[in-house]
Symmetry: C2
Subunit: 215 residues, 2 copies
Amino acid sequence: MARAKRTTKEKLLDAAEKLFARKGYHGTSLRQITREAGVDLALVNYHFGGKEKLFEAVLDRRGAMLNEERLRRLEEVCRAAAPRPAATEAVVGAFFDPILDFLEHAGPGWHSYFSLLAWVNNSPQWGKRLMGKTFNATVKRFIEALMDSLPKAAPEDIYWGYNFLTGALTLSLAETGRLDVLSAGLCRSADVAALRARLGPFVAAGLRGLAQRGG
Amino acid sequence: MARAKRTTKEKLLDAAEKLFARKGYHGTSLRQITREAGVDLALVNYHFGGKEKLFEAVLDRRGAMLNEERLRRLEEVCRAAAPRPAATEAVVGAFFDPILDFLEHAGPGWHSYFSLLAWVNNSPQWGKRLMGKTFNATVKRFIEALMDSLPKAAPEDIYWGYNFLTGALTLSLAETGRLDVLSAGLCRSADVAALRARLGPFVAAGLRGLAQRGG
DNA sequence: CGGTCTATTGAACGACCGTTGAAGTCTAAG
DNA sequence: CTTAGACTTCAACGGTCGTTCAATAGACCG
């Protein structure tokens, strides 16, 4: 069988995804990207209209698919629990699992994409605008579900809890290798199964702890 | 009273700290830094020996003070609890509180420094080497204290828990403003008191949940 | 005063940056 | 074949980058 050959646009998106994830926006040049993609320098401007447009196109490409899968699973756990609200564990599972599944079973492109997403999410320069544009609608749905699952919690606690939740996820996706060093090899940043087993329980317990704060 | 005038080195460190925190390493030029500092371009190479050396000098400057304060508080809570191990809440408090105190009561330089630290910690390019060089020794002490406070937890759970903990802290320090947008102004990224009230409870409960995972 | 060391200045270097436009190639329709 | 349109190539543009170096200024000491 012959795999359908990648178009120039796809080659550029793949190369840009990989390099932006490693070195960030300003740390990556269009010449590096086009060399990695094996296409001419000028094609970036022809197909995307500039470096910044290419950057946003990289973020957009997989964002829609991630949103769809997350919302699909959220509806699933909400429907399964109805008429009661879904459990906190189930909601955070619907938030994390699509990422972990893509990491484990989809190609290396998703790996770079999530690493890049972690980079953007932590960037004071890009985080607010770009994360919001792609993910705000979906995230609001999840925050509502979290509020329903913890009716005694104040809305402020849920918002801050979501902030902590996404921070824990973000650092894990960045895969800086620091965990490997600190644990002297006992834990590996890239071990998705180990992450899956622990991120959900940690976050669900944390949210519950926040909800019962001082009570 | 006349404040002791800043040396050229300090002017450069202050300006670099501020700009690196906002735009990252590659997003900041030496000309921007020297303009902000009000000194000549060539003085960066004279005093620091290059851009990368300046970057590391910025990280080193406040790192030692943070380590000292963290270890001082860790010993304090361990001594207060002896001969029993310190509680998980107290250990994570000794880890977070120095940062929160510096943020609230020290100058704006600390603010930029922590934002930069968040940026570095999430960077696949810098995180491993630079964070390790400055913080590994201190962090290992805290991880031991966490293990003592949760004797039933597996070491792997503590390492992963520390990863989540520092991720939650990191995203909060980055102050991307995303929390403000999502909550429609109800929460503010820069509200240190609100962060202080919630980060400790969230993380302590999360670690406890990890320790009891499946049990 | 002259001499020495440190700090600062201003100009310049070569390298790389993102972007552009004209010319060339390829494909499909008339 | 001719033509139109999409795609690709190549060379070059003006700018900015980090770094270097000789010249200058200032402080301290004899």
